[in-house]
Subunit: 475 residues, 2 copies
């Protein structure tokens, strides 16, 4: 992608370079291009940056020392967690020093009685989930990259995922954060309190700020009771409108016990079956699928799921449905869903959107966007899927069969503009859960309230007056 | 109370006065001291302010015009909703112009399909609840003052209340806000989206800022499915530790369906029975009470409640319990709880605290605070009650029987210091749900992270450079 960056920072003097290295020690300062590679590229090869130096601090104090020096010497830093972000926010596009939080991977405390867990930024999401499970609790954040993404990155991008319907976004799962500010001050907002009305909500300013206002180094996370009963179904339907009706039935029956409600287009199931060798659990193919999950402490979740599906059949909404009979089957259902993203690769170029609209407007959005995209690029194949319960659709478009990949991807912004115009008309957002990064930075002023942008700029200037934190991202 | 205020603002010139009046019209500019009375005092008579002028704008545009003029002419404004705040945040202590939001009372839109409701700041909480009920939805914010407090005030103070256990605080119930900034710019963050990661979370900066960063003029609120089954019980127990064990059992059985879990000391029941003519639903008096409520869309809430109580009896935790047999009885149980606050008045002076600690630390907090308070003032009567499930206790202290009220109240700060020291040692907050206002302003620097205070001051200076919005509050 063509990224317009701020002017390149001045090259680090050998003296400054040495001072940075001294903070973390030789062993944790990477300079060998081969070692840097993993930090300057990302999985999809959509972005490639470059950097003279990756620092891997081992403590909050070392992060603070790095920031203090960078602030003083006006050296730009790019904070990085698991390097799984999807909008180029973690990439040093312009030769910045990378500060990798991965060594900050201690679980500082698990407090069962308060249902909290305090972890450092570099803890991998899956490890946080496992730690919660060990003490018979649930840490509900759940997303495709969970084996490599980190809690710090999850919070910095306010990650969503498949359990947001019941548990909210990463923001909703954090009680407190520890943050290193641009000038190296350490802000300690760690807290086990659900209720604390003592002044401005600073926590939520850093969550979702994509590392541009401060570097999150630790967080106190909420733990939840581990559901005793989890029931999962794959449902075949005729249209997104029918899926929306089924969502209404499911929420009426199960309310907060409805933990996932994923809409999937037939073509996405095709890709996942063909390229990731998953199995469609339904007898025949359907135009639309829903992956639905109910979780409960006590009540007969199976009964509720069956009641929902029964009403769906009666109302002519549900064409076919399969309920997972075992944990293995549940995992297979989820694998079908989770592997849609990688399964798009063998089909050539894919132009991606991570949008949200009011839940009720999803069918209208999909219909209009698909008509517009196919009109613009005949043969283009919309692959919509995502979190219908949150109004959040990953509206991806695969290239026409046999088309030239580069030529197709060159129309990325053209397709974006078309799709975003429909999103905005429906009162939606151009970034539901992936953030702005560099990918959507230039669109932001067009879609965001003018005064909001002014305030964001004012806050950035106040918190990071020399602009050393993740420059060129978000704003 | 003895309030140290900023220097008095210069008297309004007749010309400026006339310009303010012209914005809202004569009819909505109050100057008559008799009419002003209701705006400069508050229910408990703890604070009395004074003001030359109360402006009652009828639109967001009028609020913006008032702010623009005040910003330009450096005139201090105190925003006010239902005037039910408990920390003096809504009182013009220093002769400021009051801007009352009560005329902004339109319900702009109810969108059932998106489960949202957009209301103006002056809508009374009870009316918002009723509007939701009309469309078979629940707006769950629920608190004692709901008949007169307003949504704008609820959001500005991030109100909690009795349903926070399941639904969170006011912050968690708002999807978007419309805010007039100090200089009159209108910030439109109204949104029906659950997921929107396009830049910094400005919304949460205004929620809970007590009118010092901007004036909230409208909000998009979340609506929830209306529970089909609501079951309420009053339980007699021996100790807060037993109540905590019962909470564990209840959360294990009911999880998110446990919507309230209120702890009440025997003396608070006594007061509510004696002075508010409520009935103790249990046969005999118990040292501690719990008011517990389960709400559910579908499952047998009565069965779950009975299972919880049964286990409580078996484990020797529950001494006695009464389950409400009718809606009338449910209301009577809640009246017993809600009228604890007014029922303290006939018992003389009451020194109040609205604290939170990690849930598991509540028994320790109550034991230590009560020992310390009674040691300091022999005969003083601790009246703890509140939201055990949130770790939030209204730790009130009634004067010794027959003591001099003024003399007792003169020790307010002394008692506060004692209690707050225990709160802080336990990792708690000195203001769980009432905010800082003027009441706790001077304590804030002692209890809050130093860097957090610095950032708060920097944000205040950025958002309100002339300090016209609610000066002397919070910071």
């Amino acid at each position: 992608m063509n990224i317009v960056n701020p002017p390149p920072p001045p090259a680090l003097s050998p003296e400054l370079f040495a001072r940075f290295v001294a903070i973390v020690g030789d062993k944790h300062a990477l300079t060998d291009p081969a070692e840097l590679e993993a930090y300057v590229t990302e999985e999809r090869n959509l972005y490639r940056g470059h950097s003279p130096l990756v620092l891997r601090p081992g403590s909050t104090a070392e992060v603070a020392a790095i920031c203090r020096l960078a602030h003083e010497a006006r050296v730009a830093l790019v904070p990085q967690g698991g390097n799984t972000g999807l909008v180029g926010g973690q990439t040093p596009h312009n030769g910045e020093v990378v500060i990798s939080l991965k060594r900050l991977d201690a679980i500082r405390e698990v407090d069962i009685s308060s249902n909290t867990m305090t972890v450092e930024a570099g803890v991998i999401l899956q490890n946080a989930q496992a730690k919660a499970a060990e003490v018979d609790r649930l840490f509900p954040l759940s997303l495709g990259a969970q084996g490599s993404c980190t809690i710090g990155g999850n919070l910095s991008t306010n990650a969503g995922g498949t359990a947001a319907l019941a548990y909210g976004l990463a923001r909703d799962m954090a009680l407190g954060v520890e943050v290193v500010l641009a000038d190296g001050r350490i802000l300690n907002l760690l807290s086990k309190l659900k209720k604390d009305n003592t002044g401005y909500d600073l926590r939520d300013l850093f969550i979702g700020a994509e590392g541009t206002l401060g570097i999150i180094t630790a967080a106190t996370l909420k733990l939840f009771p581990k559901p005793r009963a989890v029931e999962t179904a794959v449902v075949g339907l005729q249209s997104p409108a029918d899926a929306l009706k089924l969502l209404g039935i499911a929420q009426g029956e199960a309310a907060g016990n409805l933990t996932s409600f994923e809409l999937i287009a037939e073509i996405a199931v095709d890709f996942s079956v063909r390229h990731a060798h998953n199995r469609d659990p339904l007898e025949s193919r359907h135009p639309w699928y829903v992956l639905m999950e109910l979780s409960s402490m006590r009540y007969d979740a199976r009964g509720a799921l069956e009641a929902i599906l029964e009403r769906g059949f009666e109302d002519g909404i549900v064409t076919d449905a399969a309920i997972a009979a075992s944990i293995t089957q549940q995992q297979a259902f989820w694998k079908l869903r989770e592997e849609i993203s990688p399964a798009q690769k063998p089909e050539g170029g894919s132009i991606k959107h991570d949008i949200s609209v009011p839940v009720a407007a999803v069918p209208e959005f999909i219909a209009e966007a698909s008509a517009a995209v196919v009109k613009l690029i005949p043969g283009a194949r919309p692959v919509p899927f995502g979190h219908l319960g949150d109004g959040n659709i990953h509206y991806n478009v695969s290239q026409p069969v046999g088309a030239d990949k580069a030529e197709f991807l060159a129309r990325w912004h053209e397709v974006n503009s078309l799709v975003y115009a429909i999103v905005l008309r429906l009162g939606g957002s151009i970034s539901a859960e992936h953030g702005i990064g560099v990918m959507k930075r230039d669109e932001l002023p067009e879609v965001k309230d003018k005064t909001a942008i002014e305030l964001m700029r004012a806050i950035k200037a106040t918190f990071d007056p020399h602009g050393i934190l993740n420059p060129g991202k978000v704003l």
